[in-house]
Amino acid sequence: MTDRLNERTARDESVHGPTADGPSASDRQPLLAPETRERIAAEIRRFPQRRTALLPALKMAQAQIGWLPPGSIAEVAGLVGVSHAAANELASFYSMLRLRPGGRSKVEVCVQLPCALAGGEKLLAVLSDALDIAPGEVTPDGSIELIRTAECFGACHRAPMCRVNDEYHEHLTPEATRGLIEALRAGTFEQPGANGNASPPAASSA
């Protein structure tokens, strides 16, 4: 099954040309580590239909690399058994999936109405000042990305709040915010996989 799918991947690339991130998949090391491929294979077995695993598989790829370079999307498509277009459709839709590298820690500040009414805008301004970057930017050392979002995270009663990667930080009083800034500067939240570059993981198996 997998071999046939890989053939289709190669054929797709021969039609569409190499993907933007380099030589075609057949000539280069896979981006996905063996452990990631195993996790994806296990995820496919969890569901009545394999395509249900497509979104979880993309998230697994991103968890390893930090974002989704085109080659990784193609590899996921091959593993799940769908076209590149089908995988791209998801990768380009969901806000938690990222098509560009970003900071090693992502700080998302909610400014939707309930948060805005409870200091969300001020929190964003304080973080922006402290990190010396505007919302949407990454610190020069690549460690922190500040994101303004008008999505609601379901923490309106504990506003103002932000998410740092997958963690909720709520009730962000000025004091709590100072503590958060210190922790961010100390690199406390940096994710080992999220190095923001697309180089394949060091060869862990032959």
Partner: protein
């Protein structure tokens, strides 16, 4: 990993209504109620009872209880189950845990604190409709809740409460947690099903409805978290008991009211439907408005339902009363705006949400929400004219009712309801050539 243990518990109000919460029986708690504790409190008794009953009798019990869907539409839950055709082959139970409405944080607390209550509700619902596979579709950001649900399901499997041959009955049930990736549209049930199938989450046109053709084109029921969390209580204590809570026959049972915005004590408050008014909830539970301020308006259902002006504060919080007052109870995500809040800016912020979350399938919604947002921003800065108000209303009319799903209709609420009810405030902006309000308060 998570900071949840460090959170200060929300302050607790004095009991204004004599009622003991059942969905969130431990206000202020941050740790999950796991299997042993849940069972000591009577957990899974509803499930043990249900599985000795005929599936149709379970549906009948829920129908008679009067339980209405807690996700927003308020559709009778038992009737929804009854629509599933009696056909062979797979059927699916799907729990909609994609809580993303601005101002909604009730499902999160149920799942984080009472994961077994949801698992039990999913089990009873699955059995009633004849499904052997159930999915809990949870938004990707709710990592803690998803982890706790996974742990609860594992415990329940270990105890033989779900899995193969449940409680020796011969019934098999697999419950899977499926984590989303950030898309409000996945709260729309057909978009959710597309997402579960690994496709772009864009709503389907109906009919066919999911009960007939849902997940994998098979009969499927989609229920909200809070709806399913009510079910174990109905089965355990009986529909007659359930009907003594709230205002029978059409507004029975408890409802969690998510109170946020300009109130002193925001939080989840579980009360019988119709037992309090907006004013009572805000004053007696929410501790009133900061600095003794006055209410300008309340959004009863997050960004999606029309704002109610302060003269409607004595409206009772149940489905029919809020509808009679000109809005919708919906998910009961109440956002309170006081006199310090610029209504135009609030409308623009909500419209930014819909613009971002429109899936793009229907042109009127995709293009229209962007235009509504642009015009609102212009008006807020005092650069608009009275013609812009007509433009807003006309644009809204071109979206509402002309799209596949409710998102487009919801997206016009922040606009039409504020232009109609706060017209003078809009006019003042372009009379002054600027916004008369300070920047966001607090």
């Amino acid at each position: 990993m998570t900071t949840i243990e460090e959170r200060p518990p929300e302050q607790q109000p004095s009991a204004a209504v004599d009622y003991r919460p059942m969905l969130l029986p431990h206000p202020g708690r941050t740790t999950p109620v796991m299997l042993e504790e849940y069972r000591q409190a009577g957990g899974y008794q509803g499930w043990e009872k249900a599985i000795t009953m005929a599936p149709d009798a379970v549906i009948e019990e829920v129908k008679s209880s009067g339980l209405r869907g807690r996700g927003g539409a308020g559709f009778p839950a038992g009737a929804k189950w009854g629509f599933v055709p009696k056909v062979d082959g797979p059927k699916y139970m799907v729990c909609n845990a994609d809580e993303s409405e601005p101002g909604a944080f009730k499902d999160r607390e149920i799942m984080e604190i009472e994961p077994h209550m949801l698992v039990e509700g999913v089990a009873i619902g699955s059995y009633a409709i004849g499904a052997q596979d159930a999915f809990i579709y949870i938004r990707g950001e709710y990592v803690t809740a998803a982890d706790r649900l996974d742990a609860a399901i594992a415990e329940a499997e270990q105890a033989g409460l779900v899995g193969g041959n449940v409680l020796g009955s011969g019934y098999n049930l697999t419950i899977r947690v499926f984590r989303g990736a950030g898309a409000y549209i996945c709260g729309e049930e057909t978009a959710l099903l597309e997402s579960l199938e690994g496709r772009r989450p864009m709503p389907r046109s109906r009919p066919p409805f999911p009960a007939v053709e849902g997940l994998y084109r098979r009969p499927t029921v989609v229920n909200n978290v809070e709806t399913l969390a009510n079910v174990p209580h109905i089965l355990r204590n009986g529909q007659e008991w359930y009907q003594t809570i709230g205002v029978p026959p059409k507004n029975t049972g408890p409802k969690i009211f998510c109170l946020s915005g300009r109130v002193n004590r925001p939080g989840n408050y579980e009360l019988p439907l119709g037992s309090v008014t907006f004013r009572e909830l805000i004053e007696q539970y929410g501790g009133g408005i900061p600095n003794g301020g006055a209410v300008k308006g309340v959004l009863p259902a997050g960004a999606s339902a029309p704002i109610l002006t302060a003269d409607k504060l004595d409206t009772r919080l149940d489905y029919d009363s809020v509808q009679a007052a000109g809005s919708m109870l919906g998910s009961a995500s109440l956002i309170v705006l006081d006199e310090t809040v610029c209504i135009v800016r609030a409308a623009a912020r909500m419209e930014e949400f819909f613009r971002h979350e429109s899936c793009g399938k229907c042109t009127p919604c995709r293009e229209g929400t962007a235009w509504l947002h642009e015009v609102l921003l212009r008006l807020e800065q005092g650069r608009g004219s009275s013609a812009d108000l007509d433009l807003l209303m006309s644009l809204s009319g071109q979206i509402s009712g002309k799209v596949l799903c409710a998102l487009g209709d919801f997206a016009t609420s922040p606009v039409t309801a504020t232009v109609r009810q706060y017209r003078d405030e809009y006019l003042e902006h372009f009379r002054l050539g600027r916004c008369p309000y300070d920047s966001w308060a607090a």
